[in-house]
Symmetry: C2
Subunit: 206 residues, 2 copies
Amino acid sequence: MTTREEISTGSSRAKIISTCTELFLEHGFAGTSMSAIAKACQMTKASLYYHFSGKEDLFIACVTDGYGVALRALQSIVADETAAPHDKLKRALIALYETTISSPVGRMSPLIAEVSRAFPSVARSFHSEYIAPQQALLWQIIEAGIASGDFRAVDRKQLFHIVFGPMVTLSLSREMFASFDDLDEHFPVEELRDSHIEVIIRMIRA
Amino acid sequence: MTTREEISTGSSRAKIISTCTELFLEHGFAGTSMSAIAKACQMTKASLYYHFSGKEDLFIACVTDGYGVALRALQSIVADETAAPHDKLKRALIALYETTISSPVGRMSPLIAEVSRAFPSVARSFHSEYIAPQQALLWQIIEAGIASGDFRAVDRKQLFHIVFGPMVTLSLSREMFASFDDLDEHFPVEELRDSHIEVIIRMIRA
DNA sequence: GTCTATACAGTGATAGAC
DNA sequence: GTCTATCACTGTATAGAC
């Protein structure tokens, strides 16, 4: 399934988006100039304006671009009918860590915060097209577990607070302190992830 | 105890810092111009440059300014010799929520992420003068509880992951989605805080 | 679809009067 | 300690040739 954008203007657009996403992640929205983007893409500013109506449009494309990919991994786990609730939950949490910490969309949260007042529509889209679907998918697993008696009945918002909080903060911390040479020692992803998953499992087990 | 800055140039500096902090929080670092700051402070750019050597210096002052106040609440809780470990922990967590979500320093995390590559020294200062002392203070309570047999022996990093993760993410979310008119319904601070505290207590209780 | 050239408002920062 | 005036530069965005 290819989206309309992917076939309309070919690969130039895709190349700009991926190059540009890196720049935004590294320097922020206001800190990344159209000139810098053009240079990194090895083209002129005028060419950028052929593909995108402006800087805001370009930013929205960068944010939106990864929604599908980021959600797909989770979707396939939810769709798996053979696995037990505990297993599905564990795999879903690992996938969420991967997405939140390593994928562009996940790492873009601080950027959304930066532009949210100037462009509230970006924040709305981020929530309705990424955050909300992600939560809905995870909740499908939880609900099935509750129905089958494997999980305790838990409050949705309170659970999400405990589930997403640590992974998002870990992502933010790793962006904030990216310049530290002992980053992985301060913020070891797998070690923190695994102990976090244990806490969640203990919390929700019936 | 007054710092050297507080007495040297009087109240102009303090006024600039508080006004400027609001602007940075609202528009980000690169998104806030010296002209806008001058206007909000009801003075000219040249006057700003009399008090601060440049925009970066001004930003550092805004971030650094709140360290003391933010840590003081926690310090007084740690210093209390009469309270039991459980009580101290609970009070400390409530104080941390207050600081992380409502104080300027706490809300500045996304900003640090924004400028961290351009000015790694800001990130280092934020970590060594704010994050690390905060963690050290909390850890004093935990250690005392472990020594007295009230708390289980827990891994420091893993505990911090569960403790700070949700509150930082809640702060970030409230910044990201500040434009939502149903913000408090999506992200109700006290409800989420209290259930989070229960999880922590259950997790650490001997 | 990509280029050169350009418009022009806004940027951080400074000099020097008061 | 605050001002006016100005600096050199970069910002986003566009017009029009190829």
